[in-house]
Symmetry: D2
Subunit: 367 residues, 4 copies
């Protein structure tokens, strides 16, 4: 089986999630399109990165990500570092001929995201932006149902990503430093909502909204709110907040069409709510446990009803990336490319701008 | 027991709901502050209004609402007619010295609502605008918890009223005629969301949004969407649509504060979701069946867990109005006055305006 | 419109529920088959029964139920008294030619229930035993779906009625006195489960179970548990307990057939869970809000999604009884007759007996 | 880090689940008590077992499980074969000095289970029976809350394991062959309910129930039903069926005590419903997303709200087994030993016997 060497930047949250995924791909999504070999992992804290290498089985640890760039055994560079470390290493890896995965948000703003996209695109390597929620089976099933026209003409998309961990003013992570993160809830979770809105309902045409910071002294936004129009004529709302107490990872969305509706909550990620206007006297939303043999990704997993977890979304995502690489791009376009990463940033910036100037912002996307 | 004569305008949906309520008040909210006597009912269709009089026990039916105005036995005029019949009869009744109840929206726009409010206010009678969802026990409990500070500082309010009955282009009711209704989803259900937002979270400071019509040929809006700021610094979204397939009467809201959160869905109107940041290891939202002896309105009803229905909200609402009249206003300010009706219209108009001019509209309320 | 005079025994919980129902029948189930006139109400506490008469509009109150029996204006005797007062007044009323409604359990045991049934039956009057949960729209819809064969061959029925109010050892009501109540949870709520099992799934063939008392000093059972076989070959469990903390009125049941399944919880009485094995890729239980125009009883109520309450089940139940009387029995057999009341007692006694002798008890029903 | 060689019998459902777990233990439950090395895997189909070896990384595949027994590099023998292959290989492995894991049911009946337990016990090796649901975080949290007395005195345990895959008469697997499986739903899923009942609520004192076969020609039971008494005085019901259409993996239980209640559904395995009788006016069950830093097993996983899957229960289970081995048994007794496996069989046999002889069976457990 053909192999591909993996170089990982970041050993914490995303480093763990991605490393776990690469290890599971080898046998869960069997046979894998390419067998991932964990070559090197980079990070700032020497002790921590060394332990991560031992834990996940990377051949070496390094404090300098450039080492990964020059390692010819590495064919895939996976960037799970803080947002400020997205641009330079990712572009360098691509220019060294490595395929690249980069966590979201792609850049800290639309300009940086655009720069990353275009410079990587110019190298011809494959690229994937880490919008892993596209790879939740229920989300994929939703996309398939929508694409098949089962909802008819779409009228509404309402999405929100509610978390509550940021309520503590004493919290101190790079996620609250503007230079490191670029934005707060917007880049962290707002971009996920924006990406799913686009994935399920197409391009966003306008936003009217605002960003808001609640915690005294915090320099990034705690929440974003927007009323939106889509290019397909539907309208709705988008929201992201890290201050919705009691909501831990509630990426919730609902989409209403002329023939039916779908609803989802990431805290119950194995379920999709499905309504069809089919005239059945027993009228209502079905709670579909997305785990049937003919459901997306389920050929890899367990018997129906034996559910999977959040971490498994990365198995699907990175398996898709290996598939893209192995097939030279000849696969269904379900993954987020860097162009998708850029577009999410463009929408995010528009919400900020709308908040600042008090006007509806009509989106235009650079090409 | 002191009595009050009731004159009802309208015999259909709201006529039935209000008549039912007046009849139940006599023995459910025992002893009632005033015993309602059903005197006269007015409506356009002679046969239908006559049957309504017989059905509900009004002494007479009439095709001319002026007859109610001049009937001295009537002390309370209840206007459940179409929106275009809100202003003139309500004002006339007040000027004839009758206390007045008027269904929402108060007027067809803010100007008309303001006019109704001010002219009625000038007469000195008591007035109540039919925002019956204030009288859902779970909503009242929410208000009490918020007022007691149990949620701390409020950060978010997100509300939406989702129905789906308006999807049929062949539907023909006064609700789709601009001159009769004033607006579509906005006045019909959007005002309920706006009123609950105000009831639970205080005044709205700005809206950025739009109205949208989907059904070809329809002359009123099918949906409204808005990002909002409140005067207390919280932010959120408001939405109303009659085209969310599968949602029948889903007036849903969630409010997040620094100490806890609450969530509600009118389709499960007896339940309130309650989250408290109290450090309990068992962390999560409680599903509170609002039916305990110490819960709002429950002194009138059944043992715990024996739930009530939508129609019963009007029992509470009109009982409150009788209480206001009997006590000359010396009761807790839980009912919506005409000023509340006007303010809801002001916010509604602002959403329309924001949609038209593409700008955030800062609210200012006339006094 | 033809009228029927009503005499009520009992003014507390059931007296209130039934009086409310008679008053609503007059206009909610319009036009009623017979117009109920509230004539007299009887009860032990003179002050309380007098207030009840005033509150609900009975023409007179009395401390002696015999007064109702001899009142010729009364055509329907409704017995909402304690269980020990079911037999004598009910039989006397029937023998006086009055139609009779009697709350459940019909008698305090199978023998007494049988006696009531046979002696009333012999008079030729109409009789109804107060199993009001047959008149929940979702339960009726379930019955219709099952009768139409939509579930195929039935394999399982599991039912439980969970409440928690009896946890306090200091509670003192007739419900804990063996001579007044006959049994504890069994007669109070266990009979409801038994009746719904029979209503939805046919006769019970055998029970293997037990009764249990937890609260020290209590002389009636706190809970019953049974494994059961039905005559149709299906098997399942039945349970009733007043000590399931957190469950207020959770009459829950699920039925599984070869083509589908249904599930219900009285705490969400407006919802029916419906699963159909129809090969749909979106496979799951539908949450049906039983409130559509073509749903049982809904011709009387509100637009879809505007739900009803527990008290409204009695409106349906007593309306049915009036229908039975007015049509001389020519209506669909949805109400529980006294024979049904007797059969529920027979099953209940069998559970007690099984608990005592440690054997499966095969049911045989007297005719 | 100390290593332990693993020999696996079975490559299908459980072979995959256990192999996945051993691979994840190495880095998810970091650092593992012992580093599992996948040495050999045995199974009947040469091609399939060879592919499994390649897929999961076993050093070799074999058609003869004896090869694993004699392989001195193997310190842990994991038996995921059909029930008929539980006894001989497991005993042989133990007698060869290997620690043993055996899937449930331990034996095909109580006698065989007893034999396995006693003969393995005699060798002094560590043994674990594969009741993986003990290792669901929500189940473990429940156990901890109960052990801490938070529910008070227990009154009820009701458990059911509902699946629906066995409805097809044409299905042909070893699970329907009496000689291979021993029993049907009883051994397959009924034992899980029995084990969780014991794990959470202690020993079962008596059962009154039955087994039932619905599908024509099937030689094992499709369902079991029982009313049960526990040694602690509580009572309840147990059920297992593979014919509850719409239920895919619904291992559901509820436990009620004098201070609170807990409820669980394996289809929402990350949630625990928690009710506490604490006098809070907001009274109800909390939906606890069991994923907090201080929740069981969560030190190994993700941030709160980022849920895990069914497969991850085996990570916890086998990690526990490694811990038992490494510590020579000095760990909390959360895993099911072979004695637990035997006791579950004893209860299962008692249900069968009760069904056959129509009597309540009082349990007595061999020592």
């Amino acid at each position: 089986m053909a192999e591909i060497g993996v170089g990982m930047l970041g050993y914490a949250f995303m480093g763990k999630a991605h490393s776990n995924a690469f290890k599971k791909i080898s046998y869960i999504t069997w046979p894998p399109p390419l067998e991932p070999k964990l070559i090197g992992i980079a990070g700032r804290d020497p002790g921590a990165v060394a332990e991560a290498a031992e834990r996940y089985g990377y051949e070496y640890a390094t404090g300098d990500w450039h080492e990964l760039i020059v390692d010819e055994r590495i064919g895939l560079f996976d960037n799970g570092g803080p947002n400020s470390l997205h641009a330079e290493p990712t572009i360098a890896a691509a220019q060294a001929g490595k395929h690249v995965v980069c966590e979201k948000p792609l850049g800290r703003d639309a300009d940086e995201s655009y720069e990353i996209w275009k410079r990587v695109e110019a190298t011809g390597v494959k690229h994937l932006c880490g919008f892993n929620y596209r790879f939740v089976p229920a989300v994929r099933l939703a996309r398939e149902l929508i694409a098949a026209g089962e909802l008819g003409e779409i009228r509404h998309f309402r999405g929100r990503y509610l978390q509550d961990w940021a309520d503590d003013p004493s919290l101190d992570t790079w996620r609250f430093a503007p230079e490191d993160a670029g934005s707060g809830a917007l880049g962290d979770i707002g971009t996920h909502v924006i990406d799913l809105a686009r994935f399920l309902n197409g391009e966003i045409a306008s936003v009217s909204g605002l960003a808001k910071t609640f915690v005294a002294g915090r320099k990034v936004d705690d929440a974003i709110e927007a009323a939106v129009e889509f290019e397909n004529g539907s309208v709705g709302t988008l929201e992201g907040t890290r201050l919705a107490l009691g909501r831990r990872n509630a990426l919730q969305w609902e989409i209403n069409g002329s023939q039916g509706s779908l609803a989802f909550d990431m805290e119950r990620m194995n379920e999709l709510q499905v309504f069809r206007a089919d005239g059945d006297r027993a009228r209502g939303f079905k709670t579909v446990l997305v785990s049937e043999a003919d459901h997306p990704f389920w050929q890899y997993w367990w018997p129906p009803g034996h559910i999977i977890g959040w971490g498994d979304t990365f198995v699907h995502e990175l398996h898709h990336m290996l598939d893209v690489i192995a097939s030279d791009g000849d696969v269904a376009p379900y993954g987020a490319t860097f162009e998708d990463g850029y577009r999410a940033s463009e929408v995010g910036d528009a919400i900020i701008r709308s908040g600042e100037n008090g006007e509806r912002v009509r989106l235009s996307y650079r090409t």
